[in-house]
Symmetry: C2
Subunit: 412 residues, 2 copies
Amino acid sequence: MSDPEVPDTEVLALDAADPLASFRDAFEAPQGVIYLDGNSLGQLPKAAVGRLDTVVREEWGRGLIRSWNDAGWIGAQARLGGKIAGLIGAEPDEVIVSDSTSANLYKLVVAAMQARPGRAVVLSEPGDFPTDLYMIEGALRTMGGGRRLELRANADIEAALNAEVGLLVLCHSHYKTAAVRQMRELTRAGQAAGALVLWDLSHSGGVLEVDLNGCNADLAVGCTYKYLNGGPGSPAYLFVARRHQQTLVSPLSGWMGHARPFDFVDHYEAGGGIQRFACGTPPMLSLAGLEPGVDLALEAGTPRMAAKARALGDLFIRRTDGLEGVRLASPRDPSLRGGHVSLSHPDGYAIMQALIARGVIGDFREPDIMRFGFSPLPLSFAEVARAAEILADVLATRAYDDPIYRQRSAVT
Amino acid sequence: MSDPEVPDTEVLALDAADPLASFRDAFEAPQGVIYLDGNSLGQLPKAAVGRLDTVVREEWGRGLIRSWNDAGWIGAQARLGGKIAGLIGAEPDEVIVSDSTSANLYKLVVAAMQARPGRAVVLSEPGDFPTDLYMIEGALRTMGGGRRLELRANADIEAALNAEVGLLVLCHSHYKTAAVRQMRELTRAGQAAGALVLWDLSHSGGVLEVDLNGCNADLAVGCTYKYLNGGPGSPAYLFVARRHQQTLVSPLSGWMGHARPFDFVDHYEAGGGIQRFACGTPPMLSLAGLEPGVDLALEAGTPRMAAKARALGDLFIRRTDGLEGVRLASPRDPSLRGGHVSLSHPDGYAIMQALIARGVIGDFREPDIMRFGFSPLPLSFAEVARAAEILADVLATRAYDDPIYRQRSAVT
């Protein structure tokens, strides 16, 4: 452990120079916790407490059905999508908030494969975020016609792009390693082979500089409860480039995506623009809880958030370098890394439980990955340095040998 | 208008004898409003305010990622489904809360048609709730293979059940007229023809006696933000009879329905039982907001709720009988009617806006239907009698001729 009497001048200087330091006050932070899991569930923006209280007591309690018009519930999915567009390099009319990331992926996989009728293959990576692969499997099983998912290691993706591939689906930043895929080059390669390309931004939106239109992206989905601090299970977003919006049709053709939902006609007619990718009635409480986190991210701006996340990760990597049995499982080069840093250790699960008992909350992914997330708005450099010290202490004292730390929970 | 000096003895007696009268205090009720739109968005249970505050401040704010285990978030979809089962004649392991009614319908349409591979037709009614028809269209367009939706008027449904029909989809209580379809007889008829039968309980769950297993039902979906008072856009539920749970597979095969979601393996393996029909991460705030309404309904019990809704509707029908230009668009026989009463009038839209301006909130459905919902827990007989009086006054004074009442809103 560092000597508490000796000031950590590097960390003091980093915090003093942090242009986002004032944002820390905008979040609730539980006492005695260093929260390094904002890549899984972001912290509560203080403004969300008041916003949700208003939605519950005023808009639901007193406004009731009138709030669909008077409180703007009916337009909230498009309005919030328009805000998120500003964080991912999209135009406001290219993004909508709707359903879960899983459901949005399904919509776009089916729509894309219907737009590439002669092609049977969706190409992706093994080890990509599992629900993405599961939803592709579900979509292709529904469509039938011999369509199939093929998985190729990242290095082999470009070589596997042939005339059979209708859609390439990739995660921008990998959920285990945080490795960033080259969006511009892979988009170009996929399109050159005649495929559409779909990016999952769940681990990059709100923490990396994402430039969908600058990369000529076709399609994207993303999660809002990680770096956007939208609350547990807050609704996800999807992006469809303007040039594809009139040709792609969502299989989840619910009334919220209809051209005239309140005419209550018997047949589906897809609405104009991005609205056609909405489906059923959105969960308004979860949708409303999402907005304060998005507003904070817009105020901070992605360049500053990305720079700080990289710097927090760099500090953590340097301060954990050489710890016994620990291997860096993320790229050391910050330009190739998303918002978290993964360390592997054969006892990773038990070590993470011991860390959590000491107030350092990260998470574990099979088989041996400890993930530490560096959400740029609520965290200080001092917290990250302290977390590295506690990890070193847990390893040095073998605190993780206690059998209590080997018990498995339902959710890891 | 009735003379306020003369006591309305019938109404006084009805309220005095109401075994559910004490439940009125469990709901927020805006001042000066008679709310007859609980069939569209139910009122706010007072207990939901505190529950949501705890979920936001404690579970999200302080528990953070730990709340998936410690606050039971991970099991909430199945646990809430198990509660709702008690309101619709199902076993607890046959119902799960997940996604929207639209998305759930899609899951079950695809799963059912895959289980009936030789059959190309989904049969339903014209004028059924539109998003149901839209989702069937979307599901069949995705599946391809010549599958198609056929619509037959209710009286012709049984005759249309032939060897081509793989699935019959019907609303238990019709959203416009509240007419109740004969679940037992139509389920039997559909099954006799070799089809599966899917019931939409959105306008009956929580207000009518629904007996899914007593009717040998196969499949059902339902909405929670109407008579279950779950909050705007609260997640929907779906029912799959135990005998079908191992053979039907959801096309929306997300990680929450996987056999081992936290093993993060590359391929989908459907979980056991009803859990396989979950999809992505559920919107926890909206899910938590739903529970107090469900608990109140369970405490009241469907027999008492159904009896009171019928009695409220009967009172309204008798007190609006013979009003000029008004036609009853719902069954007069309460055993054939759901929780709302519809009146048609050529100026229905403007009349409803004039009523809303006078504090009586119902809603309007094209082309000429005024809907008045009789949610049994928050309403009194006196309120319903008063609403009938105000309607009579609006008609007698032609208050609805004011052009302001002809302006259309986004949501009607």
